[in-house]
């Protein structure tokens, strides 16, 4: 399952950090952060609850870039 989320992040490098953090979150199969369109595309692993996983992704992203925002 793939879902797209709107995000807010100020710098391209921070977006890369977010992408890395999201990829490492449990339950995420693949993640891409598009800085230019300010979007995050997350592919969830089989049988995972998107809401729960995104909570983890958001926490992980806040950790690497406190200024970022993910609109769930």
């Amino acid at each position: 399952m793939k879902k797209t989320y709107k995000i807010e992040v100020d710098c391209a490098n921070c977006a890369n950090l977010m992408e890395e953090a999201a990829r490492k979150t449990a339950g995420v199969a693949a993640a891409t952060v598009n800085f230019m369109t300010q979007k995050m595309i997350v592919e969830f692993a089989e049988g995972q609850d998107a809401v729960q996983v995104m909570d983890g992704v958001r926490k992980a992203c806040k950790k690497v870039e406190p200024d970022c925002e993910i609109f769930l």
Binding site: E8, D10, C11, A12, N13, N16, L17, T32, V33, N34, F35, M36, T37, Q38, K39, I41, K63, V64, P66, D67
Partner: protein, 666 residues
């Protein structure tokens, strides 16, 4: 003099932030709340700093012993107003083991300078000013990037907001997503066609500029297919939708362009790798700068160590080292390039493809549909015992199952409805032709090879064109000559490609040698390979790939029909005239919306321009950075200059990146 300059700069910042705050009141400015808050902080900190500067250190000295500490406290407040978030981020970074980032650099540099100032009871101005100008730079970066991001997105915005559906005799605007396939929608003059479909009523002219970059409007009448994203210019159209919104051309294109910048190019990879080594390296270099020279002076030469000088230089070194200009401008350049290209009707599926496209030195063309119109016309019928109409009828029926342009032209020449029930036992022999039973008569239609294969003697033709030999019940029945027309801009396109630096142009075709050579000669192509089966084309491309040096890339241009394997095999596959053709959009890396061959040279020129800008930004930013670092290490430049260099390079790089968007006149 220096003081005057510094005060002048602070006044400029004050005025600028007031003006920007006023601008921010308007909705159209697009400033985020965060940016406005930051502006207020900048304004307050600047005014406070100006006040403290005019007051001067003497005012505090009059307060006696406590004066020094009151002065420190007031400056500290100012420092925290402007820089508390940086300190917080740096602290969080350390907690999360993300030590080396620009926040850390700034925090260490300013706190270090602050400590020196406290120790000497010296100038606090510099500490606060450095933080202030860093924040001003960050603000501009965030604003400029946000602004250009939105500009580019707006330019690419071909997404229709609504569709008109007739309900109970009234027009209703609904979300295009809610329109079912096969519904009737109404498009009024000036509106965008929201969903792909067929016109059931009305005539109009359509503006396809947003899709193809072609400014000439197209006529559309009842029965024509229309694709979403076109703008209806004159008449009211009733359209029966043939796809859902999500499957329509406009959605597909948007999807493609929006995801394009997720595919990173080598230059972008280089930058992120570079940033990963660069920041720690600079930190260690700064540490070495702070410790080694004093030690050498003290131990090696027996001089005073001058710790303060070298620590100050090390801190300035840190300030000068921020890699922001690089990190921000490279993806922005690619994004602008892809955006500009899509405006010109060239869809590039990723930054990496844009980069490869710029290195193309060998261009391989498919002939039919790419250089020629692919609209064949029956030019003549020779040596036939049957009446011409009868022969064409047989040919059209035998080829009725094929979607090859030649079969299509036979069917057009026949001109009547094709009754498929008359045709049985169709055998398509790839690259040869067709054998089928028509009205229980055995018909073979194909080229020389088919006749050889069947062992039928045939008469060769003198005319240039595609020759379809016909055999009926195993007996030769003459041939039909079909000729293709070269596209009007093909020759000009080849010339422009050569001018743009493409070294070798090659044409591959399944067509007869005579036709192929004639077309190649008239267009000025370097090499031509004819009479190829689809599989041979892949082999030829592989041979060409082997023959060229690694750095020079090979592109294949086709119309997306029958050449998907070749499109994939080439370094970069370009599909032409792809409006509405899903297979081509799928297989190719670059999709040209229009079928004008001039678009190919345009695509290459756009990529060259974009990559040129990328390299300019890389070289320019790194060069200025290095120069600054060296100047700082030798004590020529101070912290002011370091911050200016950082902010200035960044803004110039962003402005340069935006240039990639302007591709209209290439």
């Amino acid at each position: 003099m220096q003081e005057l300059l510094e005060s002048g700069l602070l006044v400029v910042v004050t005025i600028l932030s007031v003006v920007l705050l006023l601008m921010g009141q308007k909705k159209s400015s697009g400033m985020t709340r965060k940016q406005k808050v930051m502006l207020w902080r900048i304004l307050i900190a600047t005014v406070l700093l100006l006040g403290l500067q005019t007051l001067g250190a003497e005012a505090f000295d009059q307060l006696g012993a406590a004066g020094r500490w009151i002065r420190l406290a007031v400056h500290l407040i100012d420092y925290l107003i402007i820089g508390y978030d940086i300190l917080k981020k740096a602290f969080k970074g350390i907690c999360n083991r993300q030590v080396f980032d620009e926040n850390f650099l700034m925090a260490v540099a300013t706190l270090g300078a602050l400590a020196l100032a406290v120790y000497e009871n010296g100038e606090y101005l510099e500490v606060i000013a450095v933080m202030l100008f860093y924040q001003v730079g960050e603000w501009f970066q965030s604003y400029a990037v946000g602004r250009s991001r939105r500009n580019i997105s707006d330019l690419m915005d071909i997404r229709p907001d609504y569709a008109n559906v007739e309900r109970d005799g009234k027009l209703e605007k609904v979300d295009p997503d809610e329109v079912d396939m096969g519904s009737i929608i109404i498009v009024q003059p000036g509106e965008k066609v929201p969903i792909d479909g067929v016109i059931v009523e009305g005539t109009s002219t359509l503006n396809t500029a947003a899709l193809t970059g072609e400014s000439l409007p197209r006529d559309a009448k009842t029965g024509d297919e229309v694709i979403s994203g076109c703008i209806n210019m004159t008449g009211v159209l009733k359209i029966q939708t043939s796809k859902e919104f999500g499957e329509s051309t406009v959605s597909k294109i948007l999807d493609l362009v929006e995801n394009a910048s997720s595919r990173k190019s080598k230059s972008e990879d280089f930058i992120s790798r570079f940033a990963r080594i660069y920041t720690p390296a600079v930190c260690y270099a700064a540490l070495a700068l702070a410790i080694l020279p004093p030690l050498v002076q003290m131990v090696g030469m027996g001089l005073a160590p001058a710790w303060e000088t070298w620590i100050y230089r090390a801190l300035t070194f840190l300030v000068a080292s921020c890699p922001c200009a690089l990190v921000i401008s490279i993806p922005l350049s690619f994004f602008a390039g892809i955006g500009g290209a899509s405006r010109a009707g060239v869809l590039v599926k990723g930054s990496n493809y844009l980069e490869t496209l710029s290195q193309v030195k060998t261009l391989v063309f498919d002939k039919t549909g790419t250089l020629t119109q692919g609209v064949f016309e029956v030019n003549g019928i020779h040596h036939s015992d049957l009446s011409d109409e009868k022969l064409v009828e047989y040919a059209a029926l035998a080829e009725s199952a094929s979607s090859h342009p030649i079969s299509k032209s036979l069917q057009r020449a026949y001109g009547k409805e094709i009754d498929r029930s008359r045709v049985t036992e169709i055998q398509e022999i790839s690259g040869n032709g067709v054998i089928a039973k028509v009205d229980s008569v055995e018909v073979a239609a194909g080229n020389d090879k088919l006749m050889d294969r069947l062992g039928i003697a045939y008469i060769s033709c003198h005319s240039v064109g595609t020759i379809i030999h016909m055999a009926i019940n195993g007996k030769y029945a003459g041939h039909i000559v079909i000729a293709d027309i070269v596209k009007p801009h093909s020759k000009e396109a080849i010339r422009q490609l050569k001018a743009a630096g493409v070294r070798k142009t090659v044409m591959l075709t399944g067509d007869a040698k005579k036709v192929a050579n004639q077309v190649a000669a008239s267009l000025g192509l370097d090499e031509v390979y004819s009479e190829l089966l689809p599989a041979d084309k892949v082999e030829k491309v592989e041979a060409l790939l082997q023959a060229k040096p690694e750095r020079e890339k090979l592109a294949f241009v086709g119309d997306g029909i029958n050449d998907a394997p070749v499109l994939r095999r080439a370094d970069i596959g370009i599909a032409m005239g792809a409006m509405g053709s899903d297979a081509a959009i799928e297989a190719a890396d670059v999709v040209l919306m229009d079928d004008d061959p001039l678009q190919i040279s345009k695509a290459i020129k756009i990529s060259r321009k974009c990559l040129g800008i990328v390299y300019q930004n890389i070289v320019f930013s790194i060069a200025v950075k290095l120069a600054c670092l060296i100047l700082v290490a030798f004590g020529v430049a101070n912290m002011w200059l370091a911050v200016f260099a950082d902010v200035g390079v960044m803004i110039l790089a962003i402005l340069n990146a935006i240039r990639a968007l302007r591709v209209q006149n290439l």
